[in-house]
Amino acid sequence: MSKRLLGLILVLPALAVIVLLFLVPLAASVVGAFVADGRYGLANFEKAFALYTQDIIFTVVIVSFSTFIIGALSTAIAGYLTLGENPRAVAILRWLYRWPMFIPFIVVGQVLRTFLAKNGLMNNMLIGAGLITPMQASGMLDWRGIVIAFVWKQTPFVTLLLAGAMASLDRGTIEAARNLGASRLRILLEIVLPQVATTLVVGLILSFVTMMSVLSVPLMINAQSPTMITADIAFRINAYGDYGVANALGLISLGVTACVAWIYLRQTMKERA
C-alpha cells in the first residue's frame, strides 16, 4: 500500500466527523434559511429583518466595540510585558493577566452577573468606600455587562498571542530607537506594533468570531431587548420551533463574520502584493 493511500485512510475518519457533523449541518442551515413554508424564497429574511434589525445592529456594534477595546488593552499589556523596565512589575503583570483565559464563558456570565448587578459586590464596595451613595447604585447588566464580559474573557487570549509575537521580535531596532531617545509609547506604536500587526488582527478576528457565537453570555447578562443575535436564535427555536428565521439569523451572523474575514484577507493580500 502506498504511503499516500495509508495516510489518507488514517486521516479519513477524523475528516468524516468534521464533514458530517459540521459542514453538512452548516450547509443545512444555509439552505434552510431560504426555505419558508416548503418553498424557496426570502420570507425568512424579511421576517428576520422586520423583527430583529435592532438586535442585528446591536450585535455588530457591541462585538465591534468589544473587539476595539480588546485590541487596545492587549496592546497595552503585551507592550508593557515587552518594553517594561521594572522586572518585578513585568513579572506581576505576566502572572496576573492570564487568569480569565481558561475560565469558561458560562462561568464568566455567572461571575459577572453577580458582580455587576445593582446589589453586586462592585457597587457594594463602591458604596462601602464612600464613592457613591446607595441611591446612585445602578446595575450594569445591559450592553455594558456584555462588553465587560467579552473584554474580560478575550483580552488575555489576544495578549498571549501578541506578547508571544513581540517577544520574538529583533531587539536591535527597539534598543536603537531607545538610544535615540524615543519614548516607550512611541516605540510601541511606531516600531513594535506594525511588526506584529498580523498577529493582532488574527487574534482579534478569532475573538470576533467567538463573540459572535457565544450564547451563554447574552442569555445570562442581558436577555431583554435589545439583545444579541445568538439569544434571538435560541428564542426562535425554543419558543416557536421556527428553524427558518433561526437559520436566516444564523446566516446573517455568518455574513457579518465573513465580512470581517474578507477585510482581513484583502489587507494581507495588499501587504503581500
Binding site: 466527523v17 457533523l21 469558561p104 457594594n124
Partner: protein, 279 residues
C-alpha cells in the same frame, strides 16, 4: 555625606514610579479577582441581600444540597464527566492516526486538511448546533449521551489533531528508523517507540478536549437538554431561577479544572511541540 545625598533622590524616584504602577496593577487585579471573589462569597453564602455589602450568614448548606445523592447536581456532574471522558476517548482515537499521518506520511493537500479541523472554531457555531440537533432528532441521537459526545468531539477535534500532529512531528525520525533496523515491525515501533515519546503532547491534547467538553454550553443546550443534564446547563438553570448559591458552586466546579490546567499546561506542552502546532 555626599554618597547619602546622591542615593536619596534616586531611591525616591524609584518609589514614586511604583505609585502609578501600583495603582494600575491594583486596578487590574481588582478587575480580575473582584468578580472571582464575588463568586467565592456566593458559594459560601446562606443569606445575602441588598443593601448589605457582605453576606449576612455564611455556611455550607447549599453545598450539602448540591452534593446530596438525590439532587440533580450529582447527575449533572456524573453526566458531564462521562461525556468529557468519552469525548477524549473518541477524539484521541480519531486524532492519533490522523496526527501520525499528518506528521509522518506524505499527504496531498496537507495544509488544507489541517485547516478543515479549524472550521468548527472559525465559524459561529450556534446555527450549526441548531441544525445538528434537528438532524440528531431524526436519527434518534438527540437527548442522548452519544449525541452530546459527538458534538463535543467535533468542536474539540482541532486541539486533538493539531497537538497530536505537533507531538508526532517533534519526535526524531531516527529513533523510529533505529527500532525498525533492529527488527521491530511498523506497529511494534509505533507502540513501543513513537507513542510513548508522543505521550506528553497527547496528554495535553486530551486535557484540552476534556476542558472544552466540560465547559461547552451551546451544543449541550440544543442537543442534550432537557434529557441529558450537564453542569453548564445546571449552572444556567440555577442562575436563571435566581439561585445564585447553586449557580456559584457549579461555576466553581467548572472553574477549578480550568484554572488548574492553566497552572500546569506548560509541563505538558513543551516548547518543541508548541512551536509546531498548526504547522
Amino acid at each position: 555625606m555626599t554618597a547619602l545625598t546622591h542615593s536619596a533622590p534616586s531611591r525616591l524616584r524609584f518609589d514614586l514610579w511604583w505609585l502609578p504602577r501600583g495603582i494600575l496593577l491594583g486596578l487590574l487585579a481588582f478587575a480580575i479577582f473582584g468578580p472571582l471573589a464575588n463568586l467565592l462569597l456566593w458559594a459560601v453564602t446562606e443569606r445575602w441581600y441588598f443593601p448589605h455589602t457582605l453576606p449576612l450568614e455564611y455556611g455550607f448548606s447549599f453545598w450539602a444540597r448540591v452534593f446530596s445523592p438525590r439532587g440533580n447536581a450529582m447527575e449533572s456532574l456524573t453526566n458531564s464527566v462521562i461525556v468529557a471522558i468519552l469525548a477524549v476517548a473518541v477524539s484521541l482515537a480519531l486524532a492519533i492516526p490522523a496526527g501520525y499521518a499528518l506528521a509522518r506520511l506524505k499527504l496531498p493537500l496537507r495544509g488544507l486538511i489541517l485547516l478543515v479541523f479549524m472550521i468548527p472554531q472559525a465559524f459561529p457555531n450556534l446555527p450549526v448546533y441548531v441544525n445538528v440537533a434537528r438532524l440528531f432528532y431524526e436519527i434518534g441521537l438527540n437527548g442522548t449521551i452519544a449525541g452530546v459526545v459527538l458534538v463535543h468531539v467535533t468542536h474539540g477535534l482541532v486541539f486533538a489533531v493539531w497537538i497530536a500532529t505537533a507531538a508526532f512531528a517533534a519526535i526524531d525520525v531516527e529513533l523510529e528508523q533505529a527500532a525498525r533496523s533492529i527488527g521491530a515491525g511498523p506497529l511494534q515501533t509505533f507502540r513501543d517507540v513513537t507513542l510513548p515519546l508522543a505521550m506528553p503532547g497527547l496528554m495535553a491534547s486530551a486535557i484540552f478536549v476534556f476542558l472544552e467538553s466540560l465547559d461547552e454550553f451551546t451544543g449541550s443546550y440544543f442537543v442534550g437538554a432537557p434529557d441529558v443534564n450537564m453542569l453548564p446547563l445546571l449552572l444556567y438553570n440555577a442562575g436563571a431561577g435566581g439561585n445564585y448559591q447553586v449557580a456559584s458552586i457549579t461555576a466553581l466546579l467548572l472553574l477549578i479544572p480550568s484554572v488548574g490546567f492553566m497552572l500546569v499546561v506548560e509541563r505538558f506542552l513543551k516548547a518543541d511541540v508548541l512551536s509546531r502546532v498548526g504547522r
